[in-house]
């Protein structure tokens, strides 16, 4: 049994770490971007300050950005998991409350969006998506989503005949419109397919990917390369002040859609790409899983759909 306390404490620890220290793939990409920008350029100056900031956050245990975000959680729930799922959201949110309370994170969530906009004072509610997946693990993908970049999210409902050129044109337009607002160099998540809402959700899933990974589908890997090149040719640059590195990476996630359309959702992460994944595994289930693992995954190629972690699982 994965207990409420274990979920709460694991989430609190993960969120605490995410707000202060960038994941290795992101900090490495920023260091690489610093090397890539020209000597004496304003882009290099901005990246130099960003690297200085990473050190300051680590040395002082301060959140690296004052916008510690709205917490976005993808809970991938193994169908064989042993946990009190009815109270999963509560346990996750309790962990968030602890992390924000104890680590000088800003509480940025308002109860209601239009009228009073009263701050909840706890940084919850979070946005939590649940997906059923094979196995008996509970995997929580957590993103601290800053809103300077979230405000640059966009959707394009393309024609079914638009092809990769149409996707590139739409994504480049959206990143150009975002300009310097989302704190470049950014990471661009592109969700393609499903319905309008699903495409945007997929774009968030795409942001979970390791920046150094390679899409297992060569067509989409090539599309990601083309997208990255096209976005960087905008020369928005670090801080939006010009330069060669506008995006650290472009990641796609694609799945089935309707014959009449091609939804393209774009989510942008600022350079402070705060993401963390935790896998909770029931000790008792571990033995049983080892025995049935071969049978559960047989006949299903989960890597077949590029960048999609859950599409097959939903249908299973």
């Amino acid at each position: 049994m994965i207990t409420q306390a274990r979920i709460r404490e694991t989430v609190a620890d993960a969120v605490t770490k995410a707000g202060v220290l960038l994941p290795e793939d992101v900090s490495s990409a920023l260091a690489e971007a610093y090397r890539a920008e020209g000597e004496g350029s304003v882009g290099k100056r901005v990246l130099g300050r960003i690297l200085e900031n990473l050190e300051a956050a680590d040395a002082c245990s301060l959140p690296l950005c004052q916008d510690t975000g709205m917490v976005l959680v993808f809970a991938d729930i193994g169908t064989g998991v042993s946990a009190d799922l009815a109270n999963l959201n509560q346990a996750v949110e309790e962990g968030i409350v602890i992390a924000y309370r104890d680590n000088f994170f800003r509480k940025s969530i308002v109860k209601e969006p239009v009228f009073e906009r009263e701050n909840t004072g706890s940084n919850i509610p979070a946005v939590i998506y649940h997906t059923l997946v094979p196995g008996s693990d509970l995997t929580l993908h957590i993103v601290l989503k800053g809103f300077g970049s979230e405000n640059c999210s966009a959707l394009a409902m393309l024609n079914p005949t638009a092809g990769p050129e149409g996707v590139i044109e739409a994504v480049v337009r959206m990143v150009r419109d975002a300009g310097g607002k989302p704190c470049p160099p950014v990471v661009v998540g592109v969700g393609i397919g499903g319905t309008a809402d699903r495409a945007l959700q997929l774009s968030k899933r795409a942001l979970l990917r390791d920046l150094t990974d390679r899409n297992p589908d060569n067509r989409y890997a090539h599309l990601e390369d083309q997208l990255l090149q096209a976005v960087n040719e905008l020369h928005i640059g670090p801080g939006g002040l010009g330069g060669t590195v506008t995006a650290l990476a472009v990641k796609t996630a694609a799945e089935a859609t309707h014959i009449a359309g091609m939804p393209v959702g774009v989510s942008i992460s600022c350079w402070a790409d705060r993401k963390v994944s935790i896998i909770l595994r029931d000790a008792e289930a571990e033995t049983a899983d080892a025995e049935t693992a071969g049978r559960e995954t047989a006949g299903r190629d989960t890597a077949g759909t590029p960048g999609v972690y859950d599409a097959d699982a939903i249908r299973s």
Partner: protein
């Protein structure tokens, strides 16, 4: 790096502003206001009603920022800039009312740029996302008004060698 940069004192004088050119990195020291979306909305409502603002903005610089809580021994927590564009609709009237400087991140509207030139003001870019770095540059923070807004209240802060880049200068020069 820091020794080669020009230092400018806050509140900034009109004479100083005239010497600033877009692209120059500058270290700011002194006091400034801090306010973001809701402060601007309330300022706008007060100006529209012909009411006085809770603090004078004449000659002031405003930093678009909402701080994270301060740990023991710190004046402020993480405190980097927020996106300036959201303040664009409210900005020209504040410049016309005497505001001289703004600090934020990202692009500004044409109307803001025109108001900067008309009033001989300046817009500084602060390094986006660098909240921990800026926390080290703030020596004092006090709430100036609208305490009910929590992290979105109007504050006054004292800074020392606070690094920015001039992004729009009084002649309309811009690096955005």
């Amino acid at each position: 790096m820091a020794t080669s940069l020009r230092s400018i004192l806050l509140p900034i004088s009109r004479e100083s502003v005239r010497t600033i050119r877009a692209g120059e990195e500058i270290l700011l020291s002194g006091t400034m206001l801090v306010g973001r979306d809701q402060v601007h909305k309330r300022f706008h409502a007060l100006l529209a009603d012909g009411e006085p603002l809770p603090v004078s903005i004449k000659g002031e610089t405003i930093y678009y920022m909402g701080p994270a809580p301060a740990p023991e021994g710190w004046a402020v927590g993480s405190c980097g800039p927020t996106t300036a564009a959201r303040m664009d609709p409210f900005t020209p009237e504040l410049l016309d009312a005497g505001l001289i400087g703004m600090i934020g991140k990202g692009p500004r509207s044409r109307e803001v740029r025109e108001a900067v030139v008309r009033n001989e003001g300046v817009y500084f870019y602060a390094y986006g996302g660098c909240g921990a770095l800026y926390a080290r540059k703030v020596t004092r923070l006090e709430t100036a008004a609208f305490a009910d807004l929590g992290p979105e209240a109007l504050f006054r802060i004292t800074v020392k060698e606070f690094p920015v880049i001039a992004a729009i200068d009084a002649l309309g020069g811009s690096i955005l």
